[in-house]
Structures are given as C-alpha cells and as structure tokens.
Assembly symmetry: C2
Homo-oligomer: 208 residues x 2
C-alpha cells in the first residue's frame, strides 16, 4: 500500500494550490512547495511529479476531484426546457467558479508560457463550449432563441459570459457576490438571447 506516498502527494498538491493561486506559476518554486509539504525538492521529482508542468496538470485534476466538479455540470440536462437548462447552467457555472476560479485564473496565466497548461485549458474549454452549444441548440429548437441570434453566435456569447475570465472580473475584481453573479449574468444573458420573458435564477437569498 502506497498510502504514505498518497498522503505526501495530497499535502504537496494542497500546499501548492495555496501558493500558486497567491503568487502564480512562475512566482512559486518546486523547492517552496516541497518545503511546505515537509519534503525535499528532489523527492518531488523522484517520487511524485517529473516536472513543474506535470505538477500543474496533476494539481488541476486533484482540484477537480476535491471540488467534485464532475457532477456539477450535469443536472441542467434534466431540466424541462432549454431555457430552464440554460438557467441551471448559469447557476452551475457560478458554483463551479466559486470553487475553482482561483486555480482557473492561475492556469490561464500559466497558459502563455506552459504548453501543458495551454493544452489542458484548451481541452476544458472545448468541452465547456460544446456543452453550452447543446443547451443553446435546444433553446433554438424550442423556438425560444431570439431570432436575431444564430445558435452558434448565441452560444459563443453565452460561453464568453460564463467564462472564468468574466467571473474573475465581476466577482474578484468588481466585488459581486456569487449569487449576484448568477442572478445578473442570467438576467443579462436571457435579455440578450432568449425570445420570451425569463424567470429569474433562484438564489439562497432573494438578491438581485
């Protein structure tokens, strides 16, 4: 049983997350991360991650597992209508970003100089865009897409509004709460691309 290894690995990844989101990919060294987990730099290379890049990818997978991301993105498929599905997707995105926006932002920055980060990011984003594309297609088939938008263009707009970048601007920079983000982004998106009047997002409070 390699439980000791797993424990060290978890300590490394948890400590790394904190350091990396604070100071960015190039602002943190493997040595720091290793020390933080009470282990030597060389042990990291020898027993855990062969390179800093590899570490970054492992961190992403780890964070997605810890935060239970996989389930978050499905329930909107069960919604009774395309519009409801899209509204659900907005609240799911809000929750998703609440949990992982810090790591996403770090990865986004690392992307410009790290091949592995760029590839991982591109993969995640392609899936996300495809999922949104399906929701908007459903909306269009049900006749609820405003006629001045093609499904593709509307999906691109929704994809942009639901991007980590916009969340970062509105929540981290402008100080919106996550509930406010969900409610307002849905209101804006619905105004822009939904043909019929849309119900507001339901939040824990009744906030706008």
């Amino acid at each position: 049983m390699s439980t000791k290894r797993d424990e060290t690995r978890a300590r490394l990844l948890d400590g790394a997350r904190r350091l990396l989101v604070e100071r960015g990919y190039h602002g943190v060294t493997i040595d720091e991360i290793a020390k933080e987990a009470g282990v030597s730099r060389q042990a990291v290379y020898a027993y855990h991650f062969g390179s800093k890049s590899e570490f970054l990818i492992a961190l992403l997978v780890h964070v997605e597992a810890v935060e239970g991301i996989a389930e978050l993105l499905r329930p909107s498929d069960a919604a009774p209508s395309g519009m409801d599905a899209l509204r659900e997707a907005v609240t799911a995105t809000a929750e998703f970003e609440r949990r992982v926006n810090d790591v996403a932002t770090m990865l986004l920055a690392a992307r410009s100089t790290d091949e592995a980060a760029a590839a991982t990011w591109a993969d995640r984003m392609a899936r996300k865009r495809a999922g949104i594309g399906r929701l908007v297609s459903r909306l269009a088939e049900e006749g609820d897409l405003r006629p001045d938008w093609t499904p593709e263009d509307a999906a691109d707009l929704a994809y942009a509004l639901l991007s980590s970048q916009v969340f970062d601007v509105l929540v981290s920079e402008r100080g919106w709460s996550v509930d406010q983000y969900a409610a307002r982004i849905w209101r804006a998106l619905a105004s822009a691309i939904v043909a019929v009047p849309a119900d507001p997002v339901r939040t824990r409070a009744g906030e706008i």
Copy 2:
C-alpha cells in the same frame, strides 16, 4: 541628440512586442530581445531598461503611443445621447482591442507574477471602469437604463463585456471578426441594460 539611443530603444520594443505576445513574459529572455535588436544583453540593462519589469512597462507605454490609443477613447463624449455614447464606446473598444489585445493579454498573464504589470493593469482598468461608469450614469439620467439594473451594476456588466478578456475569448478564440464583436456585443449589452430599442452599431460591412 540621442537619436541613436531612441532608434535602438524602438527596435528593442518593437521586437519585444512580437516575441512577448507569441511566447509570454516568462517565455522570452532579455538576451533574445537584445539579439533580435542587434544589441548585447548588457547594453539593454546599462542604457535602456534596468530590469525586465521596467521593460514591460516601457513596452506598454510604447504600444499605446504607437497605436494612438489616447484619442480613441474620447469621441464618445460628444455623442448626442447616453445611448449613442455607449454605442460609440463599444466601437471604440473594438478598435482599441484590435490594436492592443495581444499586448493586453500578455500583460494580463504577467500580472500574476510581476508587481509592475499588476499595478499598470490595475491603473488602466480603473480608468476604463470609471469611463464606463460615466456613460452608464448618463444613460440612467436620460431614463434609458432598464429599471432592473442599478447604474453601478450595469456599468460593471458593461465593463466585463468590454474587457480585453471577453474580446480575447470571442475574437481570438471563437473567431469572431472585430466588426462582429462590436455589433454583437452592442446588441447584447443594449438588450441587457438599455430600456428603449437600440440602433445597431454601424460597421464597414453590414454584418451582424
């Protein structure tokens, strides 16, 4: 006359822009930039920029000057109404981003590990948000802001929609043309926060 120095400086900055937007801040070394301009690494430190950070800031100022950014952001003040002013601001932003989005994206990534980049970015963004805030206030005073938005929240939304990040997603990643970006972002923004029906943006072509 220090024209020789100025020429070298310009060569350094122009070459650096190309390299930096291609490979990112940490993907390019001072030595490469120096070689590209036909000068030694040490000469860069001794006669031009004391550090890589300093270089980055000088590059930003240089690019803003070369691209004539200052003028771009004003004409919307002369518009006859708040709504016209906001529409002008969208087209101005499109043109602005067309010229400098590559550098903005690089700076955005550098921000996470470079103090100077972070400070410069924050400064530019504060000005931008303030300008948008004024436009939306004017819209509100004229009674054209949808009643379900406060001026502050509407300005935050507009600020997010007009961010470099959203331009990057839609134009660089999703392949929208700059005209399409301007037309569609205005359509979306107007649908979301403008109370009365809005005229479309005028583009060179009649594209949506």
